[in-house]
């Protein structure tokens, strides 16, 4: 029987070797496995790092800090996140948890927050910490968000589904990035169900959705700013060019009537282009659109940043590009005849835009035609207090000429002075803006807007406010919210 025993031995040894082989295979596959959602290894390793704090623009108000916990069987203490401002900045700051990974700045700036970035200083610090057996410390992040203005925006939006974005036109600094309904990031780890049960007056409350950067709204009349920019900048239309408004526009042989959110009578008769923007007359923009063509309008939309994810410090899946959408996908027609130029010109067609994109449009107009890269991060500070990186303003797009920007500013100032946007007036400050009320086809479910900047002659703040599922118009509901936000920001930074 001994030969059989010897052979059986080798068979069983071969089986045991195969066990070591497959374990080695998993080791070899580890980088691929580490990237899979639900793999606790990487997340937990990062939990042992004393993560950097996240501050408001004042460098004092804390958006995210750590709670050191030592629980059963952990070995090292863990640093769990606490968000003292609860829902205030849940969307831009995001969360960092064990159970559900990370979002917002917590995800996009994770390398800096965990101190695993490759700056020479940080690498040296980490090496020393490791040698001394100390806990790895992350870098702090000071954001550009103005906590007070953010609170004003969140309160003003409260109880509705919508978002507001405020930018500094000449730097691209994001001062407000507000989205409602919001959620308390402290609940993500253990009480996620409570977040899922959030109710809101729109079909899908989706409190986790950052409506400011990823919410798609029909731009409606606010898109007329882009159409006007195309018409003026191409030299095809002047602010003084006159049009006749019959109260409707003929498209493919059918009458498309003006919408009720325009101010003044239903039929204006002969008006200038500037007056058409001031009173948001659809028929005139419809004519302009047909005159300059859908391709030119879309070209200018792209010059403002449409069809791209704005380069802001948020994870890519929390940013949505703006543009025409077809079957839920971004769609840039190769043949301009596929698009209805008239409806495109006044922001209907199949256009969907984010509040962030529309804020970038008005900020570009306010900044002499140059769109700056939006940024949420002011500076990154090492544990020893040394600033290791400070964000400097960068130009993103050159949308229109300074002259076109000045003409648009004048036209938009008239909108707030005596047009559809009077509710955005701020005493002693000239405000430039544009309202929007986009029909979704169902009554009481309009997407409503206000976009604008102030002061018109020296813009300090550009703002976009969008709300969905509203029965009212942009001029009555969105403009006052924009006004509050601009006031709050101008008061603090006169």
């Amino acid at each position: 029987m001994n030969p059989q025993i010897r052979r059986l031995f080798f068979v069983l040894v071969a089986l045991f070797v195969s066990l070591v082989a497959i374990s080695t295979y998993w080791l070899w596959d580890a980088p691929n496995l580490a990237a899979k959602r639900g793999n606790p290894t990487l997340i937990v390793q990062q939990l042992t790092i004393d993560r950097g704090l996240i501050y408001a623009s004042d460098g004092k108000t804390v958006f995210a800090r750590n709670r050191e916990v030592t629980r059963k069987n952990q070995g090292r203490p863990w640093f769990l996140r606490v968000y003292p401002q609860q829902g205030l900045v849940a969307h831009p700051v995001g969360y960092s948890t064990v159970e559900r990974a990370r979002t917002g700045i917590e995800e996009s700036m994770n390398d800096y927050l965990t101190g695993s970035n490759a700056n020479l200083d940080t690498v040296l610090d980490n090496a020393l910490d490791k040698l001394r057996g100390l806990t790895q410390q992350g870098n702090d992040i000071v954001t550009t968000i103005d906590a007070e203005a953010q609170r004003v925006a969140m309160d003003a939006l409260g109880g509705r589904c919508g978002a507001a974005v405020a930018l500094e036109p000449d730097t691209g600094r994001v001062l407000v990035l507000a989205s409602q309904p919001s959620y308390d990031p402290n609940l993500v780890e253990r009480n996620f169900d409570r977040i899922l049960r959030t109710r809101a007056p729109c079909p899908s409350a989706s409190p986790l959705l950052n409506r400011a950067s990823a919410g798609r709204f029909i731009p409606g009349s606010t898109f007329k700013v882009v159409t006007a920019a195309a018409a003026l900048d191409s030299g095809r239309v002047q602010p003084t060019t006159t049009f006749n408004d019959p109260g409707y526009c003929i498209e493919y042989g059918q009458r498309v009537f003006n919408y009720s959110d325009q101010s003044g009578p239903n039929v204006f008769g002969t008006v200038t282009f500037a007056q058409a923007l001031q009173n948001s007359i659809n028929s005139v923009f419809c004519e302009v659109g047909k005159r300059i063509g859908a391709d030119l309008v879309l070209e200018y939309a792209q010059r403002f940043g449409f069809y791209e994810e704005p380069p802001i410090e948020l994870p890519s899946d929390e940013i949505t590009p703006s543009g025409l959408y077809k079957n839920g996908r971004l769609y840039l027609p190769k043949d301009p005849n596929e698009v209805d130029p008239g409806r495109l010109a006044f922001g209907q067609e199949r256009l969907l835009t984010t509040p962030l994109q529309m804020a970038l449009v008005v900020a570009g107009v306010g900044n002499g035609g140059r769109v700056m890269e939006p940024t949420l991060v002011d500076r990154i500070v090492a544990p020893d207090g040394k600033v290791i990186q400070r964000t400097s303003p960068d130009e993103w797009k050159e949308a229109v000429s300074p002259q076109t920007a000045a003409e648009l500013t004048a036209m938009m100032t008239a909108v707030v002075e005596s047009g559809t946007g009077t509710a955005a007036q701020i005493p002693g400050v000239s405000v430039a803006g544009k309202t929007g009320t986009a029909e979704t086809g169902r009554p009481g479910q309009n997407d409503i807007w206000f976009i604008g900047f102030a002061p018109a002659d020296d813009p300090q703040v550009a703002v976009a406010v969008a709300l969905s599922n509203q029965a009212s118009t942009g001029g009555t509901t969105a403009a006052p919210i924009a006004k509050q936000i601009m006031e709050a920001l101008l008061e603090r930074n006169p």
Binding site: I5, L8, P40, N73
Partner: protein
């Protein structure tokens, strides 16, 4: 050096390793475990020294490596369990005491294993009774889809662990008696006459019974593999193995179609990432733990095994999945080390069989050794996704009373055979 002095020396080394392991866990988790950890290690070694003294007294010529081997495996398991849940480690320690008591009792009172040959039919019958126990209403208990447990008042135990040993004793006796008859037939590579397949069919039927009754591929596969290994060693007739393998596959295939629990297991094995948070969760987490361990592991007590809520990431971590925990904290080096311990065990066990003069001793040693090794392979293979996952324990390492006690009994029998063999040789 005499056998027993060599054994004592190796036990001393095991003691050093155990103390180091417990100290490592203590240093990594001072907030959880206490300074008592070192006295645990001391107590653990004291137990094995007692077992050693019993061997010195009763079986002076028994193999000197088996006791240190199972001591080291037990220590690795106990350290991991201690790291996962100190309370469970205490209970496991209690089971080690009971296991070693059974070990000592067997060594002291069963001086000659050949007396078992006389009662082999009673033992074979007892094995079947034990296997059927979990199926009895009011007694059986189903955990995680498999009916392997018996619930009698305060204790829940797995009779299959003991049936395994009784089955090996019966097969050793039966095959020794009938190996001439079974080996007959046309030529060495010829096919035995169909009438000789009778016993094979009976055992196959029994394995199928176990399969369908427990709904667990693991135990069925284990018993049948032991049988095939033993019949092949006894007869050197490969057709038995081939036909047996085909029959078992057919039975498993039938089970696959009848029992949804088995279908789940197989489809998860083929693609665990089809439901990484559902059915595939255990296996996926196990793979993450193995991959995350790297070459040398995260270190004892420092691996990612427990969630912030204090539960293991992998359900059944201290029982079925303890190997994944070892991989996470001790790395590929630790994995290879544990596997190597089973290989050395295999070598020592088979060495006893090869040196044995009589067929019964040979087959008994082969059967007992193969049973333990195959069981280790099936569960490690399941945890590493080499084969479909089945719920059996990793011998000496997993948390579980039945498993610990049964495996100490198994080692005691091997040592008795070894003592007999070595005494005859000298």
């Amino acid at each position: 050096m005499t056998y027993r002095n060599r054994e004592l020396l190796h036990l001393f080394l095991v003691g050093l390793l155990t103390a180091t392991g417990f100290a490592a866990v203590y240093i990594a988790q001072q907030d959880v475990v206490s300074t008592a950890s070192l006295s645990y290690a001391a107590f653990f070694i004291a137990l094995f020294v007692v077992a050693h003294l019993v061997l010195r007294l009763a079986l002076p010529r028994a193999d000197p490596y088996l006791l240190p081997l199972c001591g080291l495996l037990t220590a690795v398991g106990l350290t991991m369990i201690y790291r996962i849940d100190p309370d469970k480690a205490l209970r496991q320690g209690l089971w080690v005491v009971i296991g070693l008591a059974a070990f000592a009792a067997l060594v002291l009172f069963l001086r000659d294993h050949r007396t078992l040959d006389g009662v082999k039919y009673i033992l074979g019958l007892s094995a079947i009774v034990l296997l059927v126990l979990p199926a009895l209403p009011g007694l059986g208990r189903t955990i995680n889809g498999a009916s392997l447990w018996v619930d009698v008042g305060p204790i829940v135990f797995q009779p299959g662990e003991f049936a395994k040993i009784l089955l090996v004793i019966f097969l050793a006796g039966y095959l020794r008696d009938n190996r001439e008859m079974l080996s007959m037939g046309a030529g060495r590579y010829g096919f035995p006459s169909p009438k000789y397949f009778g016993p094979l069919l009976i055992v196959w039927g029994g394995a199928m019974l176990v399969l369908f009754q427990t709904n667990d591929l693991g135990s069925g596969l284990l018993y049948f593999s032991i049988f095939l290994a033993m019949i092949w060693v006894a007869t050197a007739r490969w057709p038995y193995v081939a036909v047996g393998a085909v029959l078992f596959t057919a039975g498993a295939y039938a089970l696959y179609h009848v029992v949804p629990h088995v279908q789940d297991r197989v489809s998860i094995w083929l693609d665990p990432w089809q439901a990484p948070f559902g059915e595939g969760y255990q296996l996926v987490q196990s793979i993450y733990a193995i991959a995350g361990g790297g070459l040398f592991g995260q270190g004892l007590g420092r691996g990612v095994l427990i969630t912030p809520e204090g539960n293991p990431y992998i359900p059944f971590l201290e029982t079925d999945f303890i190997f994944a925990g070892i991989a996470q904290e001790l790395g590929l080096a630790g994995v290879a080390g544990v596997v190597l311990l089973y290989v050395v065990f295999l070598y020592r066990g088979f060495r006893i069989a090869m040196m044995a003069a009589d067929g019964f001793s040979k087959l008994l040693a082969v059967g007992l050794t193969a049973a333990l090794a195959i069981q280790a392979f099936i569960i490690i293979g399941g945890v590493t996704r080499l084969i479909p996952l089945t719920g059996i324990t990793l011998p000496f390492v997993s948390y579980g009373g039945s498993s610990i006690v049964a495996n100490f009994v198994l080692i005691a029998l091997l040592l008795i055979v070894s003592n007999h063999v070595n005494r005859a040789a000298s």
